[in-house]
């Protein structure tokens, strides 16, 4: 977590506005910091896609929660129900051990509704589902050498896969975008580890949900947005642009 106050103080030092009223939190710093957060989410996405950076470094944003899969072995992530904006899946863990021990998955109300279970916690699982492309998903359901096959069921060789988020909805199947897990786990607990999107900053007493290590990157990028107000190619813009590019090269 990075205190917003610390970021603002560092920004003021850079632009030499300590004690002045030229830059205000609500009008200048807050929008710049929020823009920097949004921009960082985009940059990290690119880094994830290229396997250059692991979401596991963003430990302030990692959550593991439990769902009960519907009868088609699918799970819907609904931000309104979970309370977190969704960024990316980090792990899908079928057959979890849960706490309280002995908790049973609640009954699903119909074939297609998966349930978010906030009252039970994930403890452990021996399994991890691999992400599979849509084409591989169909072709490899009986391929014993691919994750997510329906053939190998013995301990140690059983492997799970999940299919990326797809909207299967119809007038008789009223669910939004879902992931699907194979071998099927209908009506069973499935633990999902995901990255939540960082919350926007509202108050100067808030914290930014990124690791301390990227404080400089956030400060420089926020300054970069403030520099835009000063007109293109100003000194501040050029300096911060260079710094940001250098930091990005380190990530990529």
């Amino acid at each position: 977590m990075i205190p917003v106050q610390a970021v603002v103080d560092l920004m003021k030092a850079e632009i030499d506005s300590e004690g002045s009223e030229r830059y205000l939190f609500d009008q200048d710093f807050k929008p710049a910091i929020n823009s920097a957060i949004d921009w960082l989410v985009f940059v990290f996405n690119r880094a994830f896609e290229n396997n250059k950076f692991s979401g596991e470094h963003l430990n302030d944003l990692i959550r593991t929660r439990l769902w009960v899969a519907n009868n088609f072995s699918r799970i819907q992530y609904d931000p309104a129900v979970v309370g977190d904006g969704f960024w990316s899946y980090l792990g899908i863990h079928p057959e979890p051990e849960v706490y309280p021990v002995g908790s049973l998955p609640p009954a699903i109300p119909n074939d297609y509704t998966s349930l978010f279970v906030p009252t039970v916690s994930f403890v452990n699982s021996k399994y991890n589902a691999n992400l599979m492309t849509l084409e591989k998903w169909n072709e490899n359901s009986d391929n014993v050498f691919e994750a997510g096959n329906n053939v190998l069921t013995q301990s140690g060789l059983k492997s799970y896969a999940y299919k990326t988020t797809v909207d299967y909805s119809s007038t008789s199947y009223t669910q939004a975008k879902e992931i699907e897990i194979r071998p099927a786990v209908p009506g069973q607990f499935v633990a999902v580890t995901y990255l939540k999107t960082p919350d926007n900053v509202n108050l100067i007493t808030d914290d930014i949900e990124f690791p301390d290590a990227i404080t400089t990157l956030i400060v420089r990028k926020s300054l970069n947005f403030i520099a835009t107000k000063q007109g293109d190619n100003t000194t501040l813009f050029a300096i911060t642009e260079n710094d940001v590019n250098s930091l990005l090269k380190l990530i990529n």
Binding site: E49, N50, N51, E135, N149, G156, L157, S159
Partner: protein
């Protein structure tokens, strides 16, 4: 010496060496286990064929004797007594994958020990359908309940000499191959010669390296990448390599 290890250790060791223990791995554990089975079957069959030992004999008792009814399959010869091999076996010369086949003659009198079941083991002799013709011309070789024969066709062993006997079950000792992939138990004892584990590992690593050598851009993973895998080239193994010299 039979191995002290279990299959899981062998598979996990090789997976670790091939750096295939993470989520986006290219080689599934099932595939490494399959590699191990392929190589282990070859090495073990060579070992058994060279060394006379009972270390790898699997014995099965109470195998039921069937008489195949008339059916539409021409490969099932109706009316002959036979048993089904309980497991796949190594296909050694002259059906050497079968160590012995016998039955208990419950009517024979036990002389030495009245505490044991009153039986005498009757051991079958191997023949072939063609050779069996000659047996019937020699009164000392003629198939009978006390001098039975068998011949193999696929997974069946047909029995000669029991035509007028009511023997219901047999005992067999065989050199089984490893279970198929869908049945193997990673945590079971790995019945493999300990002294050959090094060669097994080396040959499986070669198979794994071959898989990893495939260009990544042939995989449909949605990522545009022109970089090829950095796996080492597989070394060609000469027929004079110590691996081949010692095992063939």
């Amino acid at each position: 010496m039979v191995s002290n290890t279990i299959l899981r250790y062998v598979v996990d060791d090789i997976a670790k060496d091939l750096k295939q223990t993470f989520k986006e791995k290219s080689i599934q554990k099932s595939q490494i286990a399959y590699y191990v089975m392929i190589v282990a079957n070859r090495l073990k069959s060579q070992h058994i064929s060279k060394i006379s030992s009972g270390a790898y004999v699997h014995a099965f008792t109470d195998l039921p004797v069937h008489i195949e009814p008339i059916g539409s399959n021409p490969n099932n010869i109706a009316g002959r007594k036979r048993i089904v091999l309980p497991n796949a076996i190594y296909d050694f010369h002259k059906d050497g994958g079968i160590d012995y086949l016998s039955y208990w003659d419950r009517e024979a009198v036990s002389v030495e020990c009245i505490d044991t079941p009153e039986f005498t083991r009757r051991t079958f002799t191997r023949t072939t359908p063609k050779e069996s013709e000659r047996l019937y011309y020699d009164k000392y070789e003629k198939p009978s309940a006390s001098n039975p024969y068998y011949y193999r066709q696929g997974k069946y062993l047909y029995l000669l000499g029991l035509e007028c006997s009511d023997v219901a079950t047999l005992e067999i000792g065989i050199y089984s191959t490893f279970d198929p992939l869908t049945k193997i138990d990673l945590d079971a004892e790995f019945e493999f010669p300990e002294e050959l584990l090094l060669i097994l590992k080396r040959q499986v690593l070669d198979l794994g390296r071959f898989s990893l050598k495939m260009p990544q851009d042939r995989a449909n993973d949605g990522i545009d990448s022109t970089l090829l895998s950095g796996a080492n080239d597989q070394k060609l193994v000469s027929v004079n390599d110590p691996i081949n010299q010692t095992q063939q």
